[in-house]
Amino acid sequence: MNLRAVRAIYIYEMSRTFRTLAQSLLSPVLSTSLYFIVFGAAIGSRIQEVDGVSYGAFIVPGLIMLTVITQSVTNAAFGIYFPKFIGTIFELLSAPISFLEIVLGYVGAAATKSFIIGVIILVTANLFVDLHITHPFWMIAFLALTCISFSLLGFIIGIWANNFEQLQLVPLLVITPLVFLGGSFYSISMLPPLWQTVTLFNPIVYLVSGFRWSFYENADVAVGVSLAMITLFLGLCLSVIWWIFKTGYKIRN
């Protein structure tokens, strides 16, 4: 294992984050604060409690998930697409490193960044609403698993994308709608029965539900199912990446 290479990629990617600190960390914090002001304070004050939790506090796990998922996908996608775009990928391909090490470096950095953003949002949220985390271990586990899985997905998108348009396409047309319709801002029990069934096909529902459970112990689906779903998603992404590297898809040609 060429750990020095993993470390080099990781540090290089993280330093990019710190170089663009304002857009990397500040903008998600700002947009989350806006959500709190609009949904939490302005609209939220007129909404009754959801499952015994004030609406402002109820949306916190969903909001964190919304940002973390979007950030993971875009960061990881950009991280690997950029070297492809400017041509520096030749160096990665000619270095004595395995694909596993490349993934560890890039996905590790993207996931770390999203994790940091998630924590910052949590701290910011704490300024607006009273937060109580019932299962801190599971909260961190769900957050970390989500960061890793969606960074893997982002990596796949970054390898697949041929231009910047495609790079934006999946986050914009797939991820954002799924997150919004995945119960980030509502409990799926608020939906008519038909839509509740439809919603269960949305993988994000399980993430948000499990994550929310770690805060308030109430969930739309059983927490075990949530955990199984995210593990399944992680496994799926890993299989696709394994296939990409085995076949050299869009890399070595």
Binding site: N2, R4, I9, I86, F90, E91, L92, A95, P96, I97
Partner: protein, 308 residues
């Protein structure tokens, strides 16, 4: 001596059907400068890319210092440095960071002193904290060399190192290449400037249409294939070449004032003495003589023409 790089019967066909390499075999000796010469699209970059692991080949084997490039890729890639043809650098990164990144990527422990030494050798030290986008084209190319040298490779591939570089900078680059060679690095460079191969290479390989036409010592090549021309200026113009001189296959200039004799420098007898004697016998008076040797360029053009 075992070659540092050994290529055996390597072929590569791209997906579109273009056959880039056809059963290329080549041994590269430790410490030499080998210039791969060929027109655009001949397969030079494909050959380098295959050795460096950027593309997969269809058949054949490549070893570097005895290690197979596929099976033992970690060993072979650690030994190789690659300077690509295109300037591919992250514009916002600093010179020092980008070189340090390359060293880490190749699995070497941190060594700021060594990076300082390379940057000084390539006259980049005072730019170490500058972002890449602030550098001139020549400097960027040197940053690419610094990155390729960052992990102390034994073999350095330079893909068209002086393409689009001005004359002065080209000479600087040659100087750098010679210095690297004297520090023990084996250098393989591709070029379509024959002048470049002539100026710095120990050995020249000619590639055309995916085939390696030859790989020979530069001096042997020029001697073997080199033709020399002797131009004889005459005191008075001739209307035609006298029949006594027919065997020499002389060419008479249009104005009749000079004769040209072409001979092979590789042969024991060039026939020059006899020619002068026969000219004198024929009553032809000589005003002046010039000789000129065919350059690598002419040899190259002839070879590529022959293969086409």
């Amino acid at each position: 001596m075992n070659p540092i790089v050994s290529i055996k019967k390597m072929s590569k066909t791209y997906k579109g059907g273009q056959q880039a390499l056809r059963e290329v075999s080549l041994d590269i000796q430790k410490g030499e400068i080998l210039a791969l010469l060929g027109p655009n699209g001949a397969g030079k970059t494909t050959l380098i890319s295959a050795i460096c692991g950027l593309i997969e080949t269809d058949s054949g084997t490549i070893t570097v210092a005895g290690f197979d490039i596929v099976k033992d890729y970690r060993q072979t890639r650690t030994l190789i440095g690659l300077v690509p043809q295109e300037i591919t650098l992250e514009p916002f990164e600093t010179v020092f960071n980008t070189v340090r990144f390359s060293r880490g990527l190749f699995g070497k422990p941190k060594d700021p002193e060594y990076i300082e030494e390379i940057l000084k050798r390539l006259s980049l030290w005072d730019k170490k904290d500058s972002a890449i986008r602030e550098l001139s084209g020549g400097m960027k190319r040197r940053v690419l060399i610094a990155k390729a040298l960052s992990h102390e490779p034994q073999v350095l591939f330079l893909d068209e190192p002086t393409a689009g570089v001005d004359v002065e900078l080209r000479r600087d680059m040659w100087q750098t290449v010679r210095q690297l060679q004297s520090s023990g690095v084996t250098i393989i460079l591709t070029t379509h400037y024959i002048e470049e191969a002539e100026a710095i290479a120990d050995r020249v390989g000619v590639i055309s249409d995916g085939r390696l036409l030859l790989a020979e010592e530069k001096t042997t090549l020029m001697k073997r294939m080199g033709k020399k021309q002797l131009r004889i200026e005459l005191q008075s113009a001739l209307k035609e070449i006298p029949s006594a001189l027919e065997n020499y296959k002389l060419e008479l200039a249009e104005d009749g004032c000079s004769l040209q004799y072409t001979y092979d420098t590789g042969q024991d007898r060039t026939g020059v003495t006899r020619l002068f004697a026969d000219l004198s016998k024929a009553g032809i008076h000589i005003r002046d003589v010039h000789t000129s040797q065919s350059s690598l360029e002419e040899i190259f053009v002839d070879l590529v023409k022959e293969s086409a």
